[in-house]
């Protein structure tokens, strides 16, 4: 009980400290506004919003303000994706793809205002559900993670990369794994963490310190987006917004079971390492379709369908922060960008993180969700105007933002070369349907995997038994093996045959 009270009082102090600081509001309103704008513009994503702001705010302002800016943009961008989904039938972000299924038919039926109002409120409640889960589970996991040693850390990092590769692949699962391996290989460049042996530097001194996170993030997420988006696209016909945006309280109350269910699903999916808001939205939509009484109307303009995906993708944010803060494994691609921001501020997320930082993150999330709600309800018409800007006009400005953000992080002009190189590679990977998120997660977790894997072997004098003799490590090893085995045709076939028989 004392533990709970101490954490609640810690959260209260962190919240009060933020609320009484006027600068908090400047960063909050600006970042949430920018986030919604990024989310609303088709062609810009939540990951891009957080990545670009990492380049801009990452290590240039105190960490507290930097976190406000990045979390505010994250929350805003995931919500902002709902605008084009509802009004244009084009998802602003991958996370809001499921939103378009019901949002656009609702707008066409003259219920656009109602859909936007409820979406805003559901996103707000979803973010709060994720944040409450973050506040509760982060401590539970932190207590457990104190017993985590090198073997578990190495296997957990591998699990994060494998899971992300498995779930984020649009085409073949091995493409996700290959992307993860490319990320891991990139993390091997530079001095190795135990013996300071230079690896793959090709005599270039810049490479000795390894690939920097921010240029890699910018290259992986921004450059392909810019190349892909610089094409002539006729802006779709926007449905005129009808009806009032402010939601009816009784309607919100009526849909509370759907919102709560979706919030819990979104948080759970977010907590899986490397799985993002888009998966959360679709999973929640699929579950909603199965369990809801209104399931047969999903896809035809069902409010329940709309709220299922929109609540889940925002709830995913809090969930994605749990593995990030407790284990140092990002729960989603934007969380990977956040991890980059932590690292360039010399904060290492994981079991040794300062608990005060976690409490501040929770307090910021609460404030950011309120700001998003208020901005969403009061300034929706501003964002609708922003939707009309063609991507060929704003993407060149994004390119300039990316260049200056990447340059100023520290590595200078070499970081720009790295960004461009990674960008071209990521573009071709996109073209061949390789997911990019596992690559970035591989780059981020590669150092951790290398160090902890070798440390575990070092402590056991080279015995591989260290990965099965500890219960935690044995469970994680089993999970890794199961994840790989599940993709081997020889092992899958009997299960598929059994499923077919049952069907």
């Amino acid at each position: 009980m004392d533990f709970v009270l101490s954490k609640l009082s810690g959260f209260g102090s962190a919240f009060t400290a933020l609320v009484v600081d006027p600068l908090t509001y400047v960063y909050l309103v600006t970042s949430v506004f920018l986030g919604i704008t990024f989310g609303a513009l088709p062609g810009l994503t939540a990951t891009l919003a957080v990545t670009i702001l990492t380049g801009f705010f990452g290590n240039k302002i105190p960490l507290d303000y930097s976190m406000i800016a990045l979390l505010g943009a994250y929350v805003g961008a995931i919500y902002g994706g709902s605008y084009p989904s509802i009004l244009l039938n084009i998802p602003g972000t991958a996370a809001s793809a499921a939103t378009a299924m019901d949002g656009h038919p609702l707008a066409k039926a003259g219920r656009g205002g109602e859909a936007l109002g409820l979406t805003t409120t559901a996103s707000f409640i979803g973010t709060l559900i994720g944040t409450v889960a973050l506040l509760i589970f982060v401590w539970v996991l932190l207590l457990i993670s104190k017993n985590i040693a090198s073997p578990e850390k190495a296997l957990l990092a591998l699990f994060g990369i494998l899971l992300s590769g498995t779930l984020m692949s649009e085409d073949l699962v091995i493409k996700g794994w290959i992307a993860g391996l490319i990320g891991l290989a990139m993390a091997m460049v530079g001095m190795d963490p135990l013996l300071s042996e230079p690896r793959y530097t090709f005599g270039w001194s810049y490479m000795l310190s390894g690939f920097q996170f921010v240029p890699v993030l910018m290259g992986a997420f921004a450059v392909p987006q810019i190349i892909e988006g610089m094409r002539h696209v006729q802006v779709g016909k926007m449905v005129a917004l009808q009806g009032r945006i402010l939601p009816n309280l009784s309607a919100v109350r009526r849909h509370m079971p759907t919102i709560t269910r979706s919030g819990v699903i979104g948080t759970g999916v977010g907590a899986l390492p490397g799985v993002g808001e888009d998966v959360a939205g679709w999973v929640s939509y699929g579950v909603g379709k199965t369990v809801s009484k209104d399931g047969k109307n999903f896809g035809k303009g069902s409010l329940e369908g709309l709220l299922s995906s929109e609540t889940a993708n925002n709830a995913c944010i809090g969930g994605a922060l749990i593995p990030l803060l407790v284990l140092g494994i990002p729960g989603s691609p934007p969380a990977a960008a956040l991890m980059g921001a932590f690292k360039i501020n010399n904060v290492i997320p994981g079991p040794t993180i300062d608990p005060a930082i976690i409490l501040r993150v929770v307090a910021i999330m609460v404030l950011a969700s309120f700001t998003m709600w208020i901005l969403g309800l009061l300034t929706a018409r501003v964002f609708i105007k922003i939707l009309r800007i063609p991507q060929t006009v704003f993407l060149p400005v994004v390119m300039v933002l990316t260049a200056i953000g990447s340059f100023s992080v520290g590595g200078g002009i070499n970081d720009l070369y790295l960004m461009l190189g990674v960008g071209f590679v990521a573009y071709f990977m996109n073209l061949m349907k390789y997911p990019i998120a596992p690559l970035v997660i591989g780059v981020i977790l590669g150092g951790l995997f290398d160090e902890t894997f070798r440390r575990a072997l070092f402590l056991s004098d080279g015995s591989l038994g260290v990965f099965v003799s500890r219960p935690g490590a044995a469970v994680l090893l089993a999970l890794n093996v199961a994840l790989i085995a599940a993709q081997i045709p020889m092992i899958r076939r009997p299960f598929q045959r059994r499923d077919r028989k049952e069907a």
Partner: protein
């Protein structure tokens, strides 16, 4: 950004005729074949890279060799251990990918342009963009004033790609390409990055492209907006970064930024600091 994905769980709610369904299935099959043909090449590239880096890994001591009289670590904490695992895994996965692509008909189509889904218009769009981005990052940003080169980039990208016309894309690529090539050819070493001849050339190209755009697109609102965005966006960004966040910015000694910085510290700052 594609239109909303169809939810496979929800099913298609629109009335679809059998013909449409068959056409869509054929298109999906064709797209998959194209993807497998590309996977064939992708797998070969990955195979080559895996072998190259395995060879590179062989230079990192694995069995605890002596180095300058000091015995290195054992095999299990060698710096080569994890990279070896990574590249072996990549080699195996690329072989699996190669097998899948061959089995699903990718290899048969891999040698024909149609087979890999070659699209001339798309290839032109990508290659002109690649030229622009390469010369902007590698040629202009290090050597030319950031406001000038970014203004040129914004003008070239919006003018070149907004309407989707091939001639404009080529003009945009040529403008940035020539300016970048000039900067790289004449001021390649770092010692010459402060020279201003390439700044003047970039400025001339920027003005010329803006004037050309305004003349060709008389009466167009976008043509009038391009110069405003091209001037304001990089100027505000570079000033915010340099004076707001006090960070390093590319090419501080550039033609325009040098003047801004001088007047910020010598003319403006004393006014509000009361000196």
């Amino acid at each position: 950004m594609p239109a909303a994905h169809r939810d496979p769980v929800a099913g298609d709610t629109s009335v679809t005729t059998n013909d449409q369904l068959l056409q869509s299935e054929a298109a999906d099959r064709e797209a998959k074949l194209i993807l497998r043909a590309r996977d064939f090449w992708g797998a070969l590239v990955l195979l080559a890279l895996s072998v190259f880096f395995l060879w590179g890994t062989s230079y990192i001591p694995l069995w605890g060799e002596n180095r300058a009289g000091v015995r290195g670590g054992d095999w299990y904490n060698s710096a080569a251990l994890v990279p070896l695992g990574i590249f072996v895994a990549m080699l195996v996965l690329s072989l699996v990918l190669l097998r899948i692509s061959v089995r699903e008909g990718g290899a048969e189509r891999a040698l024909s342009a149609v087979g890999i889904g070659w699209n001339r218009a798309e290839a032109l769009r990508f290659s002109t963009l690649a030229v622009i981005l390469f010369f902007y990052i590698a040629g202009l940003v290090p050597r030319v004033d950031f406001i000038l080169c970014s203004g040129l980039l914004i003008t070239a990208l919006i003018y070149g790609y907004h309407g989707g016309q091939a001639a404009r894309m080529l003009l945009a690529a040529a403008t940035v390409g020539v300016a970048g090539l000039y900067a790289m050819a004449l001021n390649l070493p770092r010692a010459q990055w402060a020279q201003h001849d390439d700044d003047w050339l970039a400025l001339a190209f920027w003005i010329a492209l803006t004037a050309w755009g305004l003349w060709r697109e008389r009466g167009s609102r976008l043509a009038r907006i391009i110069p405003v965005i091209a001037v304001l966006a990089p100027t505000l960004l570079v000033c915010a970064m340099a004076f707001g966040f006090r960070q390093n910015v590319p090419n501080r000694g550039g033609l325009i930024f040098k003047q801004i910085e001088y007047h910020y510290y010598v003319t403006l700052k004393p006014i509000w600091s009361g000196k």
